[in-house]
């Protein structure tokens, strides 16, 4: 089911301009995200990967440009359209951003409370299901975020982002700060959830393994815009110095040139 619906992007960013005082982060940035794909956004520090994510979900008002999600203009959406959007996307922040005064289960229930007519008992069981879907043990639901490890907090944050079965999830550095085993498990989790729930995933990352393992398409941010998008193979052919350095550096070589790596590169 990858690559279908190429005609109509679910996220359409045009001419985005973000600026903090004299510092221009984005200028004339265009980006399309298609239904059902996993898009990895990479770029050097300070190229505004997170700012792009925050702009799309409406947390950061850009200086210029247009952002459409499901055909709704995010920047001029009224409250009702905005509520629809909030229901159709989920955001996982870097450290989970769980509400610290609530248990994990209550955190996952928060978005579900907006659903009218959902019985509390069912809501609780659905929250338990989401907690189990992201690979947390049952009893983790009773714990407070401060009692969890970083990796578990990320999983719980993902469970909350998935609470209402959104069409798009935004993940901000999902594997940052995890050990390689935990990061690989998280990659697998994202890929499986994306397939079984039909998710579109927009993920900001530094992690070459993640790009390699799960991303259908990669967008490289540099020179204040999306410099190039495409599959991993396309990236290897780009001769922009930063992109070349990123995908041909010693770390990249270690990831991409493992003997059976070719088998894992997925069709784009």
């Amino acid at each position: 089911m990858r690559g279908k619906g190429q005609d109509q992007p679910v996220i359409r960013v045009r001419g985005l301009r973000n600026q903090f005082g004299p510092h221009i982060v984005h200028d004339g940035l265009d980006l399309d995200v298609y239904r059902g794909e996993i898009l990895g956004v990479v770029g050097g520090s300070g190229t505004g990967k997170s700012v792009l994510l925050r702009s799309i979900v409406g947390l950061q008002r850009p200086a210029a440009g247009s952002i459409e999600v499901f055909g709704i203009d995010v920047l001029s959406a009224d409250d009702e359209a905005r509520a629809t959007l909030d229901e159709r996307w989920g955001v996982m922040f870097q450290d989970g951003a769980l509400f610290s005064s609530l248990t994990v289960r209550e955190n996952v229930e928060v978005p579900m409370r907006a659903v009218s007519g959902l019985a509390p008992e069912i809501r609780r069981q659905l929250a338990d299901l989401k907690i189990s879907l992201v690979g947390l043990p049952y009893l983790a639901g009773d714990k407070y975020p401060s009692e969890l490890s970083g990796g578990m907090r990320k999983r719980a944050g993902l469970a909350r982002a998935l609470a209402l079965d959104p069409d798009i999830v935004f993940l901000d550095e999902p594997t940052a700060g995890l050990d390689p085993i935990g990061a690989a498990a998280f990659d697998t989790l994202i890929r499986n959830l994306s397939r079984s729930l039909g998710l579109t995933v927009f993920l900001v990352t530094h992690d070459l393994d993640t790009l390699h393992a799960i991303c259908d398409r990669i967008a490289v941010l540099a020179e204040q815009k999306v410099l190039v998008t495409g599959g991993l193979r396309d990236m290897l052919a780009v001769d922009h110095p930063w992109v070349h350095e990123y995908f041909h550096g010693p770390r990249a070589r270690a990831v991409f040139e493992t003997p059976n790596a070719a088998g894992h590169i997925r069709k784009v």
Binding site: V115, S116, L126, L133, L162, L197
Partner: protein, 435 residues
């Protein structure tokens, strides 16, 4: 199948009104019930991928209603589901499905389901689990590939409730709670004493090794806790003097003993109020600042970094802070005394016509210098309490911001409370020795 009241060949159906307010508004359709005869041949049966491609997930209104049909089939019961099995419908759907008795093999036909989300899949998996547990079988038919994938993932992830280990309850819990609180209180007092001892030990160390002493830090803290507190302390004491004169004169005038207002002001300000209220203000200002500063360093592992670099946190952080407070609080107390007397004198002049020179004479005649000492001797003790409580609370901060906030407010409350307790002990002591 008598248990669910269904005769062979009979059908029931249920319509759930659509909830899609937004979709209704968007498509211009009125919310309503899509009535379709249930024996109608499935001419326009749509599979999920078709719907997804043609209309997107949140599609037309008619597809948001669910319909559940139960028919008796040759191999048991046939459950036909229509519409969107989503989180919006799951409560009704689950209630409906819970009524099914697990007494015959069940076939679930998802052919007419337009949308399935994890909530719908959960309801189906829950039904399946219930049937399987009581020995029945459930088979799902006509599910598209996406639905099968979703059902499989949900079924694999179905949580198995575990009971967390049972804790004590009832009276036991009450006694245990009380016991723990008492022990925590004792531990806390012990820790505070430990910190006091630590401060003195490090102070002694610093006196023997003056090179380890941080004079710059001491001066900076002294400026912060002493000099910057002067305006607020002075204003507070001035107003206290004014209030005492005003209230005292009103009462003493009844006996014609207005002149004793001078004694009243002098004794209460010099002995008690000047230093006590200064200590309370400093506890609010400085104990919280100590906790916040040390706590945020603790949070960012700066304290651990210091230890690894061979710096002793007690020497570097506690000694300059507490020592600054120890030096500054008596000075602040003295300022408070002066301002209290000044405020009192001013009010006595305005309200009772006691001239400043008369006030002075009366003050020197009627008030012993011992009152000043009784007041100021408490200052170092209060300073130690405030400093030790603030530093101790800072060191108790864990890795998150909310514990920093909690410890900061704890520090203020503990410092003020302890200062008042110490003041009461001083009063009893002085009364006993007759000063």
């Amino acid at each position: 199948m008598p248990s669910d009241g269904l005769e062979k060949g009979e059908t029931f159906r249920e319509f759930v009104p659509a909830l899609g307010k937004f979709n209704a508004a968007k498509t211009g359709q009125q919310p309503g019930i899509a009535l379709r005869p249930c024996k109608q041949p499935d001419r326009h049966r749509l599979t999920l991928p078709m719907i997804l491609q043609s209309t997107g997930k949140h599609s037309h209104l008619a597809e948001e209603a669910i319909r559940i049909e139960l028919q008796a089939a040759e191999e048991g019961k046939l459950l036909k589901l229509h519409g969107d099995l989503t989180v919006h419908q799951v409560t009704r759907m689950h209630a409906r499905l819970s009524d099914l008795a697990a007494d015959a093999p069940l076939v679930i036909d998802l052919g007419a389901v337009t949308r399935l989300d994890t909530a719908g899949a959960w309801a189906l998996s829950d039904l399946k689990r219930r049937f399987t547990e009581s020995g029945g079988t459930v088979r799902i038919e006509n599910a598209g590939p996406d639905m099968t994938l979703l059902l499989d993932s949900v079924e694999r992830a179905m949580p198995k409730p575990e009971v967390s280990p049972a804790g004590p309850r009832g009276l036991v819990l009450l006694f245990e709670g009380a016991g723990r609180a008492v022990m925590r209180g004792l531990e806390f007092a012990l820790e505070l004493t430990g910190y006091l001892g630590l401060f003195f030990a490090r102070l002694g160390h610093v006196l023997r090794h003056p090179r380890a002493f941080r004079l710059t830090a001491l001066v900076a803290h002294a400026e912060d806790v002493g000099f910057r507190a002067v305006p607020i302390v002075a204003l507070m004491a001035f107003l206290i003097g004014v209030v005492l004169a005003f209230q005292g004169s009103a009462q003493l005038r009844q006996f014609g003993a207005e002149v004793f207002v001078v004694d009243l002001i002098a004794i209460s300000v010099l002995r008690e109020l000047g230093i006590l209220l200064t200590a309370i203000i400093v506890a609010g200002r400085t104990a919280s600042a100590f906790t916040a500063a040390i706590g945020s360093m603790k949070m960012r592992e700066e304290i651990d970094a210091m230890r690894t670099l061979g710096l002793d946190p007690a020497t570097v952080l506690f000694v300059p802070r507490i020592l600054a407070l120890l030096l500054m609080l008596p000075i602040l107390g003295l300022i408070a005394n002066l301002m209290g007397l000044f405020g009192g004198a001013l009010m006595a002049w305005i309200e009772l016509g006691i001239s400043p020179s008369m006030f002075r004479t009366r003050l020197l005649d009627g008030t012993d210098i011992s009152h000043v000492f009784v007041g100021l001797v408490k200052a170092p003790v209060f300073a130690l309490i405030i400093g030790v409580v603030g530093c101790h609370a800072g060191m108790q901060v864990k890795g998150n911001a909310e514990s920093l906030g909690r410890m900061t407010s704890n520090a203020v409350v503990t410092a003020i409370f302890t200062v008042i307790v110490a003041d009461a002990l001083f009063s009893i002591f002085f009364a006993q020795v007759g000063i």
